[in-house]
Symmetry: C2
Subunit: 319 residues, 2 copies
């Protein structure tokens, strides 16, 4: 099928609820912003054998592409509005690939909202490369940032940490485990959209964990001009991860630097601790206190014995 | 240099005039839309050896990436506001490449406005792949579309057609010419931002020519549910192109289907012909009448003798 046929068959249906998408048939899409709202906008690319495995299905690749970008929208406390996708595919990609990919995008739109409003499809003789632009809306002036943490604030993290790191080790064959939960967590990030939208008035700073908990906490610290101390024994881990840590006690060090968790890490004033615990119950999502914001500009990791743990790997970086 | 170093050294300076870019240090950028304006948003990818040559400089690649996207913003009659860039580069790309690439982006921002507000940089072992998301603003409800052409409207095109097609043939060695003008037109698209912004109240439909004049006129026709007749002898061509046509009379057929012109093709009611000619003088830019909108749904190409010319190639498509 040609480029225009692919767009009209697989992608235009994902645009039908957004008038300004113009059926994906025009040069650009039109967004008529809602009065009293800011837009937040992010763009992340994912590449075969770097961010996902060559063996991953088109459906899972779509989930990952949407998930990593929606996670940024969540971290700003915004609600998804629209997406643009650029696909650069190997020559002769089968129509079935597009059908499955579009199904993955649709499943994320069904769950988190928003519509496809544009993009581009090109072919080359290299690895599959995808980028997504995600646009969210947030009440004017209310976007959560990395820069508001204050000395004395409590540090919270959502969900469990390290599952995705362990899942990747299993998929790459460097760790033996039958856990589907862990590999699923690597393949299908679950962005914290509902949580982010409830953190207005609670969080002083917020970030999603993509580079690794320690590195991303470092980003909050450098943008807020503060330090932080976290207790490694308080890091929330899943039951499947606990089983692995029992056999490999040092694994927790890799789990807090490994990245791809797509949980939210946020700070809030100490008096709001109860509000966070109420929110956790309401959302049915663990929100765990893991440390405090300090003066200085370093992230310090201790344990239950108050011994400092030296962490070597500061998080994933390209180049 | 690592990823964060590259961003702060080469890209953050391009974000400094846009508060919501947050110094490129946060999860997403914030746009506070101006009351009374819509946003238009587009995203095109370019790939080595498909849209540009491996030998092209990082500066020229940046010009092309910005140019093809700004051309879509121009076609909607919008003014540039912001950009997000995703770069997927070969491993070990030198710092000098980034410096030169950022200079190219800066030169386009200096000329056309807007600011860099986000993006992503990843590495892989494949061809250089880049995508840009461009955002423009336009008075609410005034964006130009492909869908408004009416039977009897005049069809105009800006600048000259076919230079970029000829430039590519020269660079690929299939055409002998010393013309720098033609190769420059392939390497450095010059988006019609000033023209697009002046077409409100004049144009009934507008598109930028990327797939080829005939194919893009076909897009206006299908979106507007009309047909069109153009006179091939009225197509504006540059002096350098004229010299080539003198030796290869059939070349004009390829030039109107070759694409990459990044001129604007627009329709307007016949009584506005004089307003278009006044605008051309004001902008110092040729705006040439090449045909009329008809009933039906085909693009018909004739010549000065009213003989129909059969055009085989309907424009560039991927897949």
């Amino acid at each position: 099928m040609n480029e225009f046929g692919l767009i009209s068959k697989y992608f235009a249906p994902l645009a039908q609820n957004f008038e300004g998408a113009l059926g994906l048939k025009d040069d650009a899409a039109i967004i008529s912003p809602k009065s009293g709202y800011d837009l937040v906008i992010t763009k992340d690319a994912i590449v075969e054998n770097v961010h996902f495995l060559k063996s991953d299905s088109a459906f899972d690749i779509a989930i990952k592409l949407m998930g990593v970008n929606l996670s940024d929208i969540a971290a700003m406390g915004a609600t998804p509005l629209a997406y643009l996708i650029a696909l650069t595919l190997p020559d002769n990609t089968a129509d079935a690939w597009f059908a499955e990919f579009a199904n993955g995008i649709k499943s994320m739109i069904d769950e988190f909202g928003g519509a496809l409003i544009g993009g581009d499809t090109t072919s080359h003789n290299g690895p599959l490369t995808l980028s997504l632009t995600a646009i969210g809306q947030v009440p004017s002036g209310k976007a959560l940032k990395r820069s508001g943490a204050m000395v004395g604030d409590i540090i919270f993290v959502s969900g469990t940490i390290g599952d995705s790191y362990l899942g990747l080790q299993i998929l790459q064959g460097t760790l033996q485990s039958e856990s589907q939960h862990l590999t699923e967590r690597y393949r299908r990030p679950n962005p914290c959209i509902r949580l982010g939208a409830k953190l207005h008035g609670i969080a002083t700073a917020c970030i999603d964990i993509s580079d690794g908990l320690v590195a991303d906490l470092g980003h909050i610290c450098s943008n807020s001009n503060v330090g932080a101390t976290i207790n490694i024994d308080s890091i929330p881990v899943s039951d499947d991860a606990k089983a692995i840590i029992a056999a490999h006690p040092d694994m927790i060090n890799n789990m807090i630097t490994g990245g791809d968790d797509y949980e939210l890490l946020f700070t809030c004033p100490a008096p709001y601790e109860k509000a966070v615990s109420t929110l956790a119950k309401k959302l049915g999502l663990p929100l765990t206190k893991i440390g405090v914001v300090t003066s200085g500009n370093n992230v310090k990791v201790t344990n239950n014995n108050d011994t400092e743990i030296v962490i070597n790997n500061g998080g994933y970086q390209h180049f």
